[in-house]
Amino acid sequence: MSSTASPSRFSRLPALGRTAARALLHALPTVAGVILLSFFLMQAVPGDAADVIAAESGSATADSMAATRRHFGLDLPVLQQLGNYLQHLVRLDLGLSPRYNTPVVDLIASRIGNTALLMSTALAAALIAGVMLGTVMASFVGRWPDRVLSLAALLLYSTPGFWLGLMAIILLSVHLGWLPPGGVSTLGTDETGIAHVLDVARHLVLPTLALAGFYVAIFSRLTRAAMLEVSRQDFVRTARAKGAAPLRVTLRHVLRNALMPVLTVAGLNFGTLLGGAVVVETVFSWPGLGRLAYESVMARDYVVLMGILILSSLLVIVANIVVDLAQAALDPRVRAR
């Protein structure tokens, strides 16, 4: 711990900048690793793009296949191919999808917004619900609200998201008819403005529920454990002894300090959340990255699949940097490190 006076609001910015620079530098080898790994996975694919294109076109000769291989640089030695691959990546060129005959970057760009919408809604919902439930559980520790909610959290923790989604469709969509069972907006309408937003929001409810369930369980269990841990510490006893209101102690002293581990785990789980989105999107025909991944597996379009793998790994790295920054902003001790 540094013994210097606590930094003023203004001196925080350069400190955050240093944190960001350090995090970026730290991420570089991981980025290189992701790219190398996906390149070698690509090499492990039986057949190559020329085979796929030949199969797509339905007619090919040995000569035309050789020409295609030359065109895509597939006849070069592996190291040279890796060099080309890296050159393309630097220009944000993830290749051309043989299946859609479209640049992979464009394909991903057209879908990533929907996935981002679903993931951020689910993450926000899970954080809010999880922290609230966890606070209730910690406040009533050992008594029946804690026991009931702990059991519910454990059940939710054990339930696959896609099945939760299907059961929600059966109940809320098929039997009660309250919510649409899939898609991102109602087909055949060209609503704009607020009507469109409401329509998308209605379509978003069930996928969010399916994706968030597991994380509500994680965050509530974690909040409970972290709050119990913090509430044993001296400063909480001091706050109580000073006569601070119990609610104020719970929210301002205990919960605030218990939020750090929750935030850390939320960042660590970003990758699993993305994986969960893949499954949930296929349940609800949600046109996002996950559905694109599914479609490209079905079409054996490995170029798109690798593009998604690289891009989502980069997203995870960015998410981790954001969490680092948030922690540095919230906790001076992290900055002093």
Partner: protein, 288 residues
């Protein structure tokens, strides 16, 4: 914590087991898991025919025909047979994937924590790499490249889920590597392998045991998601693929999606109950 404050190992082990078995959650988990394991082991005798064969009238509801207590699906396949045979796949994939994750994770974590220095730096980087790549996407990619079979699926899940174990084992090893009993073992002239396997690893076991139940549970969840998306092994019946097949019938025969899903929840719940109870038994002061 110093080693001298710990009770005698045998007494410690007995009291841990006692605390574990006295926990109603642990008992519930054990019973649940025993029932599922019995169904999985007994499936070839209870339901000797291929669960993928048509054996009755399609779309019988549960208890409609005593011959098929849990009903039949759109293809006239016995749901009860599917659930029992599906338990085999789920448990097999779960155990195999967890074993692989443990092997990789313990090796990487132990080497990093024990040797430190550049080995530690390289292995931590490797762990971070595999922790960064979204594991479910990696599983999809590996299975798509290598063809879906039960073995490949277990391999893919194992290869993408080991970083948790590695981080945990590394942390344990780092805190134990300078302990007095390790120094004593060094003074005896024991080799690295013997110190790691016979001296440090047994002392690092409690958190590894707790993580194992979570690993198996997560592997079962991943396999079910994979086969639900029809990316699983097409030659075996699995709980996930049963739910996937039932998607077309949600309106009329929702039990086809509900029953295999409940089986997954029951299995994963049992494993999580065991994991929680083991955690409480190993850390009695934290348990409430």
């Amino acid at each position: 914590m110093t080693t001298s404050s710990l009770p005698h190992p045998a007494a410690w082990r007995a009291s841990t087991l006692g605390r574990f078995l006295a926990n109603p959650a642990a008992l519930a988990g054990l019973v649940l898991l025993a029932v599922i394991a019995a169904a999985a082991l007994g499936a070839p005798w209870l339901f000797p025919h291929d669960p993928l064969d048509m054996v009755g009238t399609p779309l019988l509801w549960p208890s409609q025909d005593p011959e098929f207590p849990l009903g039949t699906d759109t293809m006239g396949r016995d749901v009860a047979a599917g659930l029992a045979h599906g338990a085999r796949v789920s448990l097999l994939v779960g155990l195999a994937a967890a074993a692989l994750s443990l092997t990789i994770g313990v090796s990487v974590g132990a080497a990093a924590g024990y040797f430190g220095g550049w080995a530690d730096r390289v292995l931590v980087r490797l762990t971070e790499l595999f922790q960064t790549i979204p594991s479910f996407l990696l599983v999809i990619v590996i299975v798509a490249i290598a063809q879906p079979s039960v073995g490949v699926i277990a391999l893919a899940i194992g290869v993408s889920s080991w970083p948790v174990v590695a981080r945990l084992v590394r942390a344990e090893f780092r805190s134990l590597v300078h302990a007095e009993f390790v120094q004593a073992a060094r003074a005896h002239g024991y080799g690295h392998l013997r110190i790691v396997l016979a001296e440090i690893l047994p002392n690092a076991l409690p958190p590894i045991i707790v993580t194992t139940s979570v690993l198996v549970a997560n592997a079962i969840l991943m396999e079910s998601a994979l086969s639900f998306m029809s990316l699983g092994d097409p030659n075996v019946v699995s709980w996930g693929s049963m739910i996937g097949d039932a998607r077309e019938m949600l309106r009329t025969a929702w039990y086809l999606a509900a029953l295999p899903g409940l089986s997954i929840v029951a299995t994963v719940l049992a494993l999580n109950l065991l994991g929680d109870a083991a955690n409480d038994a190993f850390n009695p002061r934290l348990a409430r």
